[in-house]
Amino acid sequence: MATRQTQFLARALLTPAVGLLFIWMIVPLALTLYFSTLHYSLLDPGSEAFVGLENFRYFLTDPAFLASLQNTLVLVGSVLALTILLGIPLALLMDQPVIGRNIVRLMVIAPFFVMPTVSALVWKNLLMHPVSGLFAWLAKLVGLTPIDWFTDAPLLAVILIVAWQWLPFATLILLTALQSLDEEQKEAAEMDGASALSSFIYITLPHMARPITVVILIETIFLLTVFAEIFVTTGGGPGLQTTNIAFLIYSQALIQFDVGSASAGGLVAVVIANIVAFFLVRIVGRNLEA
């Protein structure tokens, strides 16, 4: 039972983290809030003037806004689906008796170590390039027309790159969970004559519910702000097909150097992130209750 003393100590221990995070959040947030009400172009300092909600109106009426919102959601959703749907069989496979498992595991983890810029450049130029890429060469080898990834399916191409980077993470967590699954349970099921499939559906899958939740939560946090992969490969185009919220704010902040509307955009992004988090917690958060 927690005594008053331990409770006090608990508070004391929690305070530095909460305090720091609070400052980290509140100071830039306050400044962002302040900037978002100003006409503030970095290229024209000294001309700052209070404009009220003008920056928000400007950001939200930008035709790119709705498109980028949609792209953000499609990107997050597809990458989540891909990493989980591929991660489960991959984890199952690696849970099998495999000769040289350590090496296989390292190969599977490796993409997680590569900087996003670098992996985007590798994929764009060496693999997906419609003329000199490896995929194009393979397609021609078997007599197919190479796919022109960044023209015909730009968003899909970005999704594939990002999914490749996050697949190791999902696989690892799912694998860890699998390895902790009670061997005896599985064996008992096997002895009862349960098929591999039904033991997967009735024993393994329910056991995976929590790790899947974790994968969804952590990945969502990072996927909402995917930027380098888009910047390097398509620059948000063609048109607005690969512009997501993070890229849109980037272009306000560091191409137009419009601090006012970038600040407004940043705040909009926070609101969106919180809405996503809210639904996420409602839908999958139950699994997080200890």
Partner: protein, 436 residues
Amino acid sequence: MKYVLGAVCGASVLLAVPAMAETTLTIATVNNGDMIRMQGLTGEFTKQNPDITVKWVTLEENVLRQRVTTDIATKGGQFDVLTIGTYEVPIWAKKGWLVPLANLGADYDVADLLPKIKDAVSVDGKLYAAPFYGESSMVMYRTDLFDKAGLKMPENPTWDFVIDAAKKLTDKSAGTYGICLRGKAGWGENMAFLSAMANSYGARWFDEKWEPQFNTPEWKTTLTTYVNVMKEAGPPGASSNGFNENLALFNAGKCAMWIDATVAASFVTNPKESRVADKVGFALAPNTGLGKNANWLWAWSLAIPAGSKKSDVAEKFIAWATSKDYTKIVAAKEGWANVPPGTRTSLYQNPEYLKVAPFAKLTLASIDAADPNKPTVKPVPYVGVQYAAIPEFQGIGTQVGQQFSAALAGSMTVDAALAGAQSVTEREMKRAGYIK
């Protein structure tokens, strides 16, 4: 031992009194080949100036631009020498962010700078940045393919000829494409090319009252021609190709023609990088007979941020790096073919340079053909050939670039892309207060 140390200390104190204390210069630059070479030659500069140490911050173009702009606008004071383009110079000079370069030294010979380039980095007759290398754009073509098809490239081709040749030279089954052009969205990517092309078709970004002009027939012809020729004779994936992607294609022998920066000439004729090094010819960027060729003007230049406490030393470095002597140092160490091009008249009169640079004549002619102060057939209120030198242009240019890149990818019609470009530009210009 103690005595030696003491003597050394004493000597250095003595030395330090008349000379200045050791100064460290932080120089921000782009990671292009010529700058990398300059970085490699730092020792030559510090040998002459032992009291100066140099620190390099070498970054890719986009990162450098965001870094340098953030720093100068917030007066962060992280850099002593900046590498900026002709787009930034007039804007920043007018803001008072740059120190005018008045003490470059007696033997610097400002009059030797190419007049067009000098104009581009001057405001009201004062030099605000020293050009490090300059470029225009031109046609690079495969002489072997032209010979085989029985075609002859004129020195000053028209668009009709170029388009016709592009169609004739395309052989998709063999992986040869008639023409490679930029398609990746960005004000410095596809819009650099398309703005220059539009100039040759008589179009302009804004009229005298800053009204955007994408609803004019000139722009429609430009974009239609571009999209059609790329569809018929361009490589797949063109909408994500920028300078480097096209360079790789051209060097691999996939393009019969490529219209892009003149600095590319030294890459495509370098046998270590190019498979077609001995089969490349050059011509001026095409025109339509209206008096403007489709070529741009750009110079990467060195400048000093206002408020720098080391501006004397910084100017010393700039004077060194953009001098005739620097050219000689590079020539002695790396050969004449590798000296930074496009800034000085004397270079184009140097027989040794002309001998190793078959592209020198056309580079100079292309630079001369571009006029940032009078870029278009009809009058315009802005300075700049492939850009309008106003702070808002980067943002507008990139958004318009996205529309045009979508038109190229076929996910949008030419008309829709032009309408989109028009409304985006109007929206931004209204916000910035140029038009009501």
